[in-house]
Amino acid sequence: MLPTWLEVVLRAVAVLLAFLVLPLLVGQTEHKVMAHMQGRLGPMYAGGFHGWAQLVADGVKFVQKEDITPARADRWVFRLAPAVALVPYLVALAAIPLSPSVVGAPVDAGVVLVLAVIGVGVIGTLMAGWASANKYSLLGAMRAAAQLVSYELPLVLAVASVALAAGTLSLVGIAEAWSPWWLLWQLPGAVVFLVAALAELQRPPFDMPLADSEIVFGAVTEYTGLRFAFFLLAEYAGIVVFSLLFAVLYLGGWAGPLESWLGWLWTLLKGFVVAVVVIWLRVSWPRLREDQLQRLAWVWLVPIALFQLALTAVGVVMTS
């Protein structure tokens, strides 16, 4: 066996690689899928073949840009914010299993860890909005905070329902306990989870905190260069995390034909499909107003999630 320190380094490097590659993959998919959904071609030049290297080129461009900190900004908070927004997703990605063996950091109560860590990301947005000394940034940050607080609840309730059904808080355990009829049984919870995840990601149609037509770009208005790129990376890493989480919790993760060999690939594939759906929703639907957004969370999602929880409880009691 490998010595412990080497194993830790290898796992960290592997997770970091996944963290750097998967969001780019999702980003490129978004470029292309969104373009074709709008009757365009999307990037075609960078890298030669259908613009596959567009996001690499974007990254190179971001690195070259000047790193500006506004004069009136709260310097250290401003500079730290992108990291606070980005790192939670890295930690969450490490804890999500692609198969029982392919997992960055196997955690017993993986569900709790992932949800708790994802909740930290909003602090990065709040820090960015507060420290920018810009009214639009502040408005965006406040909207983000209000939105994330609202949608955290249905998200947690939906996940609680799955954990209850599986009888464990371990992500691996939940995926192992999954059976196809969960697709029906946990459907309301799955819908709530997907909608709440979209809102957590602050992606259209829930991009009120960024609403470029109202508040420029929300909390990240004042950011440039690499720090701005980190916020973007955090968004796409968030899509990866939530898509994989959805695949593990609601789609059975690595369950599928040739499971013993292709298990981790199944999880990636299912996660990718969910990511495409996330992109699809972005292209198709208009942005919600702030009050509609809150209404959706409290009037629809929370009751549905509670209903799902009750349904799961009844189901668990009946089958046991």
Partner: protein, 254 residues
């Protein structure tokens, strides 16, 4: 709640629309790689046939934003026959169009009586320096190679004015001014063309303007009398130089 008003059907239809366009071909014109298929009569750049230009300045004067520059001088040509008269002609020194000002209205091309200007569909002549958009006559002449042949007429379109003018029987000489030898050949033509009794009013309106340049000056005295009859109650005498120019000062000619 009709189906069109509901939120959920609306959301689903949104998804369906984007999914449908995902499976269809895109509208993107990959311009630099694939040159666009331009419609006929595309207005790209204006080409000049220098030999046709008489430096008459019509185009430069009609240009709404004065972007055509013409310089010319007169040159005397020696008489072609012994004892003949030396003639003057315009020599073009400079013909330039400033495409940084041009608004592509095409009036210069319409107005040119000698077909010296033509539309070319070429449009790739952007410049780094705006001053380079001033195309001098050699560059304007080079565009001539890119001028396409005139497109065929659309089905059902009106017969072109040139064709009607060519097919029209010769204008009849007025009855009163018959004696001139010149008018004689015109007469049989009229009888051939089918004796239309309504012929006299037509030349009054358009024939003089069109045909005055063509008719030799000798005929002018006979042509002008045709004009007055309809507007004026009493037809002017053929020799009266006074009333005719006053009626139509624009085309009085000599």
């Amino acid at each position: 709640m009709s189906e069109r008003d509901g939120i959920l059907p609306g959301l689903v239809r949104g998804l369906a629309t984007t999914a449908r366009s995902l499976t269809r071909h895109t509208h993107t014109a990959e311009y630099p790689d694939v040159s666009p298929a331009l419609p006929p009569r595309s207005r790209g750049v204006i080409a000049l046939t220098e030999e046709n230009c008489t430096s008459c300045m019509l185009c430069a004067r009609e240009c709404p934003d004065w972007c055509i520059y013409i310089d010319s001088h007169k040159e005397e040509l020696p008489p072609t026959t012994p004892g003949g008269r030396a003639r003057q002609r315009n020599m073009l020194d400079r013909f330039a169009i400033d495409f940084s000002l041009c608004m592509y209205c095409g009036i210069c091309i319409e107005v040119c009586p000698f077909d010296a200007l033509h539309w070319s569909p070429e449009f790739e002549y952007a410049e780094v320096d705006i001053r380079d958009l001033l195309h001098e006559r050699d560059r304007l002449g080079a565009w001539m190679a890119t001028v396409p042949p005139p497109p065929a007429l659309d089905p059902g379109s009106a017969v072109p004015a040139e064709v009607t003018a060519a097919a029209k029987p010769k204008r009849p000489a007025p009855a009163g001014a018959a004696p001139a030898a010149r008018a004689r050949p015109a007469r049989p033509a009229r009888t051939e063309g089918g004796g239309t009794p309504a012929r006299p009013p037509r030349p009054r309106r358009e024939a003089p303007t069109r045909e005055l340049p063509v008719t030799p000056p000798v005929d002018a005295t006979q042509v002008i009398p045709v004009t007055p009859p309809a507007p004026e109650a009493g037809p002017g005498t053929p020799d009266a130089g006074g009333p005719a120019p006053r009626l139509q000062p624009g085309e009085g000619g000599e």
